[in-house]
Symmetry: D5
Subunit: 94 residues, 10 copies
Amino acid sequence: MLFAVRMDVSVPQDMDAQAKAELLAAEKDYSQDLQRKGEWQSIWRCVGEYANISIFDVAGNERLHEILWGLPLFPYMTMDITPLAEHPSDISLD
Amino acid sequence: MLFAVRMDVSVPQDMDAQAKAELLAAEKDYSQDLQRKGEWQSIWRCVGEYANISIFDVAGNERLHEILWGLPLFPYMTMDITPLAEHPSDISLD
Amino acid sequence: MLFAVRMDVSVPQDMDAQAKAELLAAEKDYSQDLQRKGEWQSIWRCVGEYANISIFDVAGNERLHEILWGLPLFPYMTMDITPLAEHPSDISLD
Amino acid sequence: MLFAVRMDVSVPQDMDAQAKAELLAAEKDYSQDLQRKGEWQSIWRCVGEYANISIFDVAGNERLHEILWGLPLFPYMTMDITPLAEHPSDISLD
Amino acid sequence: MLFAVRMDVSVPQDMDAQAKAELLAAEKDYSQDLQRKGEWQSIWRCVGEYANISIFDVAGNERLHEILWGLPLFPYMTMDITPLAEHPSDISLD
Amino acid sequence: MLFAVRMDVSVPQDMDAQAKAELLAAEKDYSQDLQRKGEWQSIWRCVGEYANISIFDVAGNERLHEILWGLPLFPYMTMDITPLAEHPSDISLD
Amino acid sequence: MLFAVRMDVSVPQDMDAQAKAELLAAEKDYSQDLQRKGEWQSIWRCVGEYANISIFDVAGNERLHEILWGLPLFPYMTMDITPLAEHPSDISLD
Amino acid sequence: MLFAVRMDVSVPQDMDAQAKAELLAAEKDYSQDLQRKGEWQSIWRCVGEYANISIFDVAGNERLHEILWGLPLFPYMTMDITPLAEHPSDISLD
Amino acid sequence: MLFAVRMDVSVPQDMDAQAKAELLAAEKDYSQDLQRKGEWQSIWRCVGEYANISIFDVAGNERLHEILWGLPLFPYMTMDITPLAEHPSDISLD
Amino acid sequence: MLFAVRMDVSVPQDMDAQAKAELLAAEKDYSQDLQRKGEWQSIWRCVGEYANISIFDVAGNERLHEILWGLPLFPYMTMDITPLAEHPSDISLD
């Protein structure tokens, strides 16, 4: 099941540099692990913004919540979640 | 070059049924042709809304505008355009 | 899988009375059929507004979209969809 | 009498971990006590957000205010309150 | 139980003058009847706007909905409903 | 002359408890004094929110500003001010 | 007593030209009459918009409402009303 | 050339009292100097808000920016700038 | 003096094709005439939207208003006007 | 390829003066270097605001993101990005 998620990140400017580096590294590992599993299907940077648009392919709501809630950067994120369905024009469905 | 585009559609309720059917058929052909060409990379329906989120892979701004402006449903659409860039966590870039 | 959906209805004031009555009757039948099937778990009227908040328990995004897209009043509705997950405080999960 | 309440939580990131753990435990006890009493009828997590949608079944405005104002997390919450009424399509009323 | 309700009115400009006059007369009668019953406690005009702020003192949500839904002008209104509770500073409670 | 004023309060969470208690006591005294004078005609708590809706009956803009600007909690408040006029349906005017 | 009022005008595009000309003439007369009386103290056009910002000097809320409600263009206007008070820096008060 | 400017002020609550007093005094001198020069034509307090609406009569954009950017309170202000033009109904133009 | 203006166009879908063609031709002539005069310095299409961002270099507010108010498409436009000033980093000023 | 970018800057008021001066100097050098390269085509100050509107002429999304993400002031900026295309009325295209 597919979801589009826009994540806007706002890390406190006064965060300790070391802590921030570790946080970002953990975020990257976390994301890449899920990408390898195929649950985090796509991730793109929104040009000029500390934000991304991602497509998730997950079992359902519970799993998506579990993934997003577990993001190391979650406390610093604003999320916009759009559940997706097949589009009648989508040729990949033919 | 990638763009995420959300298209919200609002077709006048009093549109002639025949005209509407032709319009939607034209829209579907137009979209599927671009999907086959690879420019319209993905299209998903936003659950419960007459809207879609699409990913375009185009040469640049001019081409994206040409595509969107040429949509049969364009006059009935509200667009939200997000230029995309590669995300540092994207494993497909490794 | 649970979704909260707020539906705001705006039927054209100049709609033919007979057509409107049939539309509303169809909407009621459609909803009650889904309620009996257990997919439309709850429906409440938002006080003072032509709107409702509903809880759906469905297989997934596709089914929710199918249900909402099929609402007789769909063309006259604005939807706000919130995918739900279990809350850690929910005693019904104990 | 029913109310739908969306609660968005924003706990200061620099809150002492111990204090936060106690606060959350108190919040859970407070909520579960009201759930057992039947006043807090339902609570769902909004997927991917530190927010919930709850349905309250209370005597009236005063009681709802008393409950919400008394939430341990109240100082860190933004509330959206929708008074609910019976929906004419609700089969549970038949 | 008290509710503050802001009603913004937008009557179609091309409405037949006679029909409009009857509609407004019916609205006035409807409101004044409820004022005499004490349910519609206060009604003020928002300066410079076709809107009012009203205070209702009703049995509960159901009754408020019944009243608002029954307003002759309801189809032309946008409502903003705020459930009210006693304020700790209110001297009328001493 | 009547004004409806919605006051949303946001007191810093890290304010010294003693200072906060004194501030709130001063706010209560200030409000109740004006209520006794009849200028602060009504005050209700917005259910579930640290906010109130108040009706002021004052000589004019200057006096209203003087009152609001003088509120001990003023620095922590967001105000929404609606000047009111008599409503043609208001039976209290007959 | 002073009020700042922003008026955004939206006249139906399909209004009969003659009727529109008469309406605008009536609006101009109405405004200029009040300007000569000193109640409509200032009126400026918002550059590039069918809108104006005006300053009214009136007896109070009732009079302002009477003036605005009586504007020939009132049915086609959206109003934003700001009650004004003396500013401590205003040298005209010295 | 005229501009309407709304300035909303938000001074940090924990600013040193002495520094704040000096800042406000500097702001007042700065404003009154410009008022005497005729560039700052009018300044009114928005009732119940730490905000003002001002009318500037300046040579052009550069000068307006220079004035606003130079305000001692500028770092604590949110500005809304409306360029003004003559209104066809303005009797002062006859 | 420079202004950035965003113009969003919304032409009624049921406008007569011939009238619309003439209107757009008039708009193009009007714009190109001003571009040749140097007052309309730049005009770009916002990708995927019936909107443009333009830079005007005009004598002042009155002239800008005169230009915008005179646009054949003005009745179908929503404008967002930003007065511009020189930026301290602008190398063209060295 | 052209992009319009509005950048709103909000530097913490308690930033060390020296650090701030260096930050702003770095920002100026960074911008002017790109202006000399022709990628940062135009930069204007929004009158009365700590914001600018800039036009970028870059190879594509990736390059624009690289530039914006690299701005020394980026952590203190809110960006609004509008991809631009040629406007059919633009005489510079003839």
